[in-house]
């Protein structure tokens, strides 16, 4: 029953969008009525999504999709998240988020009426495209032809609270760029005033903030759920989410320098189209199953062809309009040696190079396989030695960029910065001799501290310190950059100064980690609702009264016959101590302990970036 409701409302929503598209050229709607229809279609799409969710919650196995991907003895939260833990459901989620964005966009004020309508029409076209894709290739409302009372279960690796909320947030980022795309295309068609640029800025900041959150959640999940001790693997699926993120960052930055300069406007439109194209491309690659990935949960390739087709339609249409209707009158840019515009241009160029390099590295194995029928890998080492060096000049520049002047060639207090940089370099150099000297470690720490220090100097020497909302809006770019600096320190320390200790232990053994005695208490096995768990229990720092308990082990999921590893992590502000329980050999357990210094700084940095993303939305 719920499946029928879901399917019908999905089809009706698509129908409304068809009607809107046709009626624009046949009837002339009044604004009120037009927006009403847009909102109606959004609500219908949401109804469709929630009826699928309902089917999951009540374990309605007459729905084929629920039967394939759910199981009645799962905790409620994973029944809910199971809705988007599979291809069909996640596509419906994609469409629902698209219509949520249209819904909110229809309420935008201070914007030209016909412009708003044109944007929404383009949204409607996207809705139709993806809606038809769902109905014809990935219908989540198919009826199960056999009568069953149990389902096949959800991939246990996805049964995790972090991953339950990760897809909706990530998708909100991806799909948010649809609005930016539509605004940019509408801007090309109407090309009247520059008001649309401010609207585009707002929406691209919202999308970017969501995307940041989504990526961070995904990598935090990889950190504690995969149990490898790392949080970023240059995995294809990770790369794919990183591409629109960097392109989106470039977009947000170039929207800062809109000052009626046509050359920039052209570039903004280009980036807007690129961001959404990369988002659709990302969806295609993840869902097509072409890539081998740790995050792989893809289905068959025939659907991939359809998404590829959609990708070509969207991208082709976008760039075609861009070429035919490009903004006229290109004013030359005012690129003096050091000013804000040239800093932003350099930043944009570097970001685009990084994006394209990641893109090439990610699809290169596919190209080689098609051309030479040979399998190769392009992994972390490639990206580390290409993308990171390219970004370094950008990192150096970003520390002072916000205080550069728009027009002239002068930095205020430039001596202060030079002095600070020299002192800092010496300090970091001394520090790194006490640890093992490592070139990347040195560069990373220097950059991180430099960005933070220069931003703080800039805040204190350029503005009057006041504690009110307006002040926080003014210093917001610096705050964002401090977040980046903190994240760079965390990234450098946790990846380069990671320490690994291996032990073979019996229950009751004591061993030393980081100068503290740890007791391997016991091994415990328990039966949970949907899995069996094996846990090694450790007591950290037993000599003190406040010793901490750590559990590391594995889960066995009988329904899907899979084992997942569950790392035990002791979080401290300056390091994570990461316990991995290995296999038992000759009556001894293999225990790996990783000491990851300053991992928490990565998440702190990301949170600061997201905070300033939100602040920037409210700033015009």
């Amino acid at each position: 029953m719920s499946s029928l409701v879901g399917f019908l409302s999905l089809v009706f929503a698509i129908g409304i969008n068809f009607y809107l598209f046709l009626s624009r050229y046949i009837f002339k709607f009044k604004k009120q009525k037009f927006n009403l229809f847009i909102r109606l279609s959004s609500l219908l799409t949401l109804l469709s999504f929630f009826s699928l969710m309902y089917a999951y919650v009540v374990s309605d196995f007459s729905n084929y999709n629920v039967f394939q991907n759910s199981h009645s003895n799962k905790p409620l939260i994973y029944k809910i998240s199971g809705t988007w833990g599979n291809h069909e459901g996640s596509m419906l989620l994609w469409l629902s988020i698209l219509s949520i964005f249209s819904f909110f966009f229809s309420f935008t004020k201070n914007i030209d009426e016909s412009f708003q309508r044109l944007t929404l029409i383009i949204q409607s076209l996207l809705h139709i495209l993806f809606g038809l894709f769902i109905v014809f290739t990935s219908n989540p409302f198919l009826v199960n032809s056999i009568l069953v009372n149990e389902g096949l279960g959800l991939n246990p690796i996805l049964q995790d609270p972090g991953l339950a909320v990760h897809p909706p947030i990530l998708y909100a980022g991806y799909v948010g760029y649809s609005i930016v795309f539509s605004i940019a295309i509408a801007g090309l068609f109407q090309n009247t005033d520059d008001e649309w640029l401010y609207v585009a800025k707002k929406w691209s900041l919202i999308s970017w903030t969501f995307l940041t959150g989504g990526i961070a959640l995904g990598s935090y999940w990889a950190y504690y759920e995969l149990g490898w001790g790392g949080w970023w693997f240059w995995d294809p699926v990770e790369n794919i989410s990183l591409m629109p993120w960097i392109a989106g960052l470039a977009l947000v930055h170039s929207l800062m320098m809109v000052r009626g300069e046509q050359a920039i406007k052209k570039w903004i439109v280009f980036l807007s189209i690129l961001c959404f194209s990369l988002s659709v491309f990302g969806t295609f690659l993840v869902r097509s199953g072409i890539l081998t990935s740790v995050h792989s949960f893809a289905a068959d390739a025939s659907r991939g062809i359809f998404i590829l087709l959609i990708f070509f339609i969207v991208t082709g249409f976008g760039f075609l309009v861009f070429l035919l209707k490009e903004p006229k009158k290109s004013n030359a840019l005012n690129l003096l040696f050091i000013n804000k515009v040239s800093a932003l241009v350099i930043n944009n160029i570097l970001m685009i190079i990084a994006t394209l390099t990641i893109l090439l590295g990610t699809i290169y194995p596919i190209i080689i396989e098609v051309l030479y029928n040979k399998r190769i890998s392009v992994g972390g080492p490639y990206f580390n030695s290409t993308v990171i060096p390219i970004m370094i000049p950008g990192f150096l520049l970003m520390s002072v960029a916000p205080i550069l002047s728009w027009q002239t060639n002068k930095i205020n207090n430039s001596k202060k910065y030079v002095l600070a940089f020299i002192v800092l370099s010496v300090l970091v150099l001394i520090q790194s001799y006490f640890l093992d000297f490592n070139t990347w470690g040195f560069v990373g720490l220097l950059l991180g501290f430099w960005i933070i220090l220069a931003s703080i100097i800039a805040i204190f020497s350029s503005y009057k310190i006041k504690i009110n909302i307006k002040f926080f809006k003014i210093i917001n770019p610096h705050v964002a950059h401090i977040g980046v600096g903190i994240a760079i320190i965390g990234i450098t320390c946790s990846s380069i100064f990671q320490n690994e200790l291996d032990f073979n232990l019996n229950e009751g053994d004591k061993f030393i980690v980081n100068g503290k005695t740890v007791l391997f208490e016991k091994i415990e096995t328990t039966n949970e609702i949907n899995f069996q768990s094996l846990r090694g229990k450790f007591l950290f720092d037993i000599e003190k009264n406040r010793s901490k308990e750590i559990e590391a082990g594995k889960n066995y999921y009988p329904v899907s016959k899979m084992i997942t590893s569950e790392a035990g992590i002791l979080h401290q502000w300056n390091k994570d101590i990461y316990f991995i329980l290995g296999d038992q050999k000759n009556n001894e357990w293999f225990v790996k302990v990783l000491i990851n210094p300053f991992v928490s700084f990565i998440w702190l940095g990301v949170i600061i970036m997201m905070y300033s993303g939100l602040i920037a939305v409210s700033r015009r």
Binding site: S342, I346, I353, R375, S377, V378, G380, P381, Y382
Partner: protein, 111 residues
Amino acid sequence: MFFTFKIFAIENIDERVKKLTLELRCMTCQNQSIYDSDAEFSNDIKKIVKNKLKAGESEQDIKKFLVERYGEYILFRPLMNYNNIFLWSFPFILLIIGLFFVLIRSKGNKV
């Protein structure tokens, strides 16, 4: 000072095994490096690499041996050969194009 550190690094065989196996793909896992993986395949390769390093073979030799045995797929860092010339030069071509763009743009604007 630099020199002493380097010598120190070469002496430590486990560090060298780590450095090399981090750049190798575990063929039986999902996108995991041999170093990070505990799969049987990875443990075998780790042993092979360690023995070969002890026997004094260079990293290049070991990589070559592994590629002959398992194909280029095992290398996370693609070889710098004719096929991959585009892959490796691409970022630097882009960088040069970018530089040119900046130079041309700013030349026309000199006051």
